[in-house]
């Protein structure tokens, strides 16, 4: 899978959010909020194909977390990102 283009990162209210932007149009009707871990993964996975194992590898390399928990969190995140239209 791959992260879709066309989402612009912003910091609003101290939160890292993505808004679907096209050209000079910003869409605040579908804001997607990310915690620091999701942000790290979203930024690390730009412009590349990836699978669940790649995400888990990134998490294990960055955080002190057990493999099983990282896998569970990444599976849930992929599901959320798919639902939000962030991945293709």
């Amino acid at each position: 899978m791959k992260l879709k283009k066309g989402f612009k990162p912003r910091t609003i209210c101290g939160e890292f959010i993505l808004t679907p932007d096209s050209g000079r149009r910003a869409d605040f009707s579908n804001m997607i909020s990310m915690n620091p871990t999701a942000r790290f993964l979203w930024e690390s996975l730009q412009d590349r194909d990836f699978e669940l194992d790649d995400m888990v590898g990134l998490l294990l390399g960055q955080y002190d977390v057990e493999d099983a928990l990282a896998r569970k969190d990444c599976t849930a995140l992929i599901e959320e990102w798919t639902k939000a239209g962030l991945v293709e």
Partner: protein, 152 residues
């Protein structure tokens, strides 16, 4: 994962973006622009305009409350003072200066994704008719909110 940002934080940023020439799609809350805009369902496409006129739906900082509203201009004076009123209100107006207007709602985006212009001749004619119906607006709005909105 979906974030709700308080108006007082989001709207100043929206107004800054409009001033820079960007267009902004903003979800609308509340029912004060019924029947043209349905809060919590519709979004509006906002853009900066060179000039604002009576009949325009605008995002403005209101003098009395210091809050932002998306309401229709019902009167403008030569000195730049503007009177606003929500289409879904039966009384009560707000005031601001034209310099406190951040942008104009160009169209309504329905949940289906359809765009409905708020600025073409047809939209302005409908808004004009609605303005003249102010004496009976109370009953029309009740019908709209209790019957039509429930069927939507």
């Amino acid at each position: 994962m979906i974030l709700t940002v308080p108006n007082e934080i989001l709207l100043p940023q929206v107004i800054e973006m409009l001033a820079d020439g960007s267009e902004v799609v903003l979800p609308v809350k509340g029912w004060s622009m019924n029947p043209f805009i349905d809060g919590d369902r519709d979004s509006v496409l906002l853009a900066r305009a060179e000039e604002y006129h009576t009949g325009d739906v605008v995002l403005a900082l209101v003098r009395e409350t210091g809050c932002y509203v998306l309401h229709r201009i019902i009167d403008m004076k030569a000195d730049g003072s503007v009177t606003l009123m929500g289409d879904g209100n039966i009384c009560g107006v707000e005031h601001c200066h034209v310099s406190n207007i951040g942008g104009r709602a160009v169209s309504v985006i329905k949940p289906s994704g359809k765009n409905r212009s708020l600025t073409d001749r047809r939209a302005m004619r409908r808004a004009g008719i609605w303005k003249r119906l102010l004496p009976v607006r109370r009953w029309l709005l009740a019908f709209y909110r209790h019957i039509i909105l429930k069927l939507k």
